[in-house]
């Protein structure tokens, strides 16, 4: 493929196929939010430090602000919109509510997507959850409750 300033690409997001024209410089985060209107995924630092933009690509958690959209052409993406519904929450979403694992809620979609992937990695103990969640910041400081919610779903 010779270099170009835009690319016709496709993404399978939450099981649904999307075709779109992305600019060469667009991040996956910007495509999700600005081109597809899927604003559940949040933009925090936009530099890979805060984790608010965490989504799953081929079931692995990534930071969508550091993912060049064009590079994910044809890939399968899961966002916060794809894991539960208002009347049928994912068990990790329900656990976040039960454990009061949020205050302002801005980081929560990223925390939940990251936590989902971490549960699949089968953390051995609470320390492994704290270490495994270090890519997600919470300015409100809800960390103990976030760890507790993930621990419950991980069976710890």
């Amino acid at each position: 493929m010779s270099p170009g300033s835009s690319i016709h690409m496709s993404l399978k997001i939450n099981g649904r196929d999307h075709k779109l024209l992305a600019a060469a410089c667009d991040t996956l985060l910007d495509v999700l939010r600005d081109k597809l209107g899927m604003t559940g995924t949040k933009k925090g630092c936009d530099m890979g430090a805060c984790g608010a933009c965490t989504v799953l690509a081929e079931d692995r958690r990534i930071k969508s602000c550091l993912a060049l959209a064009a590079s994910y052409d044809g890939r399968s993406i899961t966002t916060i919109e794809g894991i539960g519904e208002a009347d049928k929450l994912h068990q990790l979403q329900a656990a976040f509510i039960r454990h009061d694992a949020l205050q302002c809620g801005y980081c929560t979609p990223g925390q939940i997507m990251s936590g989902l992937a971490l549960v699949e990695e089968q953390p051995a103990n609470l320390e492994a959850i704290r270490e495994g969640m270090s890519g997600n910041l919470c300015r409100c400081g809800a960390y103990p409750n976030i760890v507790a919610a993930i621990a419950e779903v991980a069976g710890l």
Partner: protein, 329 residues
């Protein structure tokens, strides 16, 4: 927050990647975790990126004692690969001490080795930096240099290399395999990097367009039960090293047969402590030997105004790493 627009192309093959990258202003895109930060901060302004992430360079293989890491192997896959955890736990430890879970899923071996320095003067395009803008001066030399290097610096640049993986690989005498216009070549990882000298903008010995295709670790399984990666940083996780130490020993009949020591966060490249290694050989790993190794590791350190604490930190990190190995059964 972003830099000037760039074009996007996808490499059809390894040789196509190399040819596309010969065009000035072209950067390889693998995981993108560093490139996108550099572009957003204005520290790098590529005219085009060549996406190499789909090239078949992602395998991890262990054959006849040699570990081979494809340049595009993801850090998380390397760290959890059964042959890596079994025969090269030093590599797994160094990777798991790096970045965050999300970034390890994206970042690649080749990209990790070629990540740019975290020196704040390099990362901010408003500040003076000879590495980013030759001739603009080194802001860190007389400015904030708490993170700066102790060894291998020049009056033009005092930045450190940020990779943990490179420190472990340097300790294990790893080699890099690259593809250039003359075909493939393979050389020591230690020769991948250049000291800043008069040209801090030239960080590696790669020719334009030359692409790292893999990393090979020679048989080092004799160290597997006796190695450790110690990383000291400002917070417990998701942070770059202030000082790190990769240590591996082969001990027989109570004597050190062979020692490997490399330090991170203290030099423009992974810093092998050759002299200290030589001094350890033939000795028993006791308190006296360990203390002497700590002292020797910091000989010739040249601290600046704010990073003198790193001298004591490196000495103590070497001591603690060796104590960890001493206490192993």
């Amino acid at each position: 927050m972003s830099g000037p627009l760039f074009q996007y192309g996808r490499a059809a093959s390894v040789s196509d990647a190399r040819i596309q990258a010969l065009k000035p202003g072209t950067a390889f895109l693998a995981g993108g975790t560093d490139l996108l930060q550099l572009w957003k901060s204005g520290a790098m302004r590529p005219a085009a990126v060549v996406d190499i992430s789909r090239l078949p360079l992602g395998d991890v293989e262990f054959i006849d004692g040699q570990l081979s890491l494809g340049a595009l192997a993801r850090l998380s896959d390397v760290a959890t690969h059964p042959d890596v955890t079994r025969y090269h736990p030093l590599i797994a430890e160094a990777i798991l001490a790096s970045a965050s879970g999300q970034i390890r899923n994206m970042a690649t071996v080749g990209g990790n080795l070629l990540q740019r320095t975290r020196c704040p003067y390099f990362r901010n395009d408003q500040l003076a930096c000879n590495k980013r803008k030759p001739g603009s001066g080194c802001g860190a030399l007389s400015g904030q240099n708490r993170q700066a290097a102790l060894f291998g610096t020049s009056p033009l640049c005092v930045a450190t290399h940020a990779s943990d993986l490179a420190v472990a690989l340097a300790a294990l005498d790893a080699e890099v395999e690259v593809l250039g216009s003359e075909g493939k070549r393979r050389f020591s990882l230690r020769d991948l990097y250049r000291l800043p000298g008069e040209t801090p903008e030239h960080e590696t010995n790669l020719a334009p367009g030359e692409l790292i295709t893999g990393v090979h670790v020679p048989n080092a399984t004799r160290f597997a039960g006796c190695s450790t990666y110690l990383k000291i940083r400002d917070r417990a996780s998701f942070e770059f090293a202030i000082v790190s130490v990769a240590a591996a020993l082969q001990i027989e009949n109570g004597k050190i047969v062979e020692a490997r020591l490399a330090a991170g966060g203290v030099a423009p490249l992974p810093w092998r402590l050759d002299q200290t290694e030589a001094a350890l050989a033939g000795r028993a790993l006791d308190a006296q030997t360990i203390a002497a190794a700590g002292d020797m590791a910091v000989e010739h350190a040249r601290p600046l105004a704010d990073n003198g604490f790193k001298v004591a930190l490196l000495r103590n990190a070497v001591i603690r790493a060796l104590q960890t190995l001493e206490s192993r059964p």
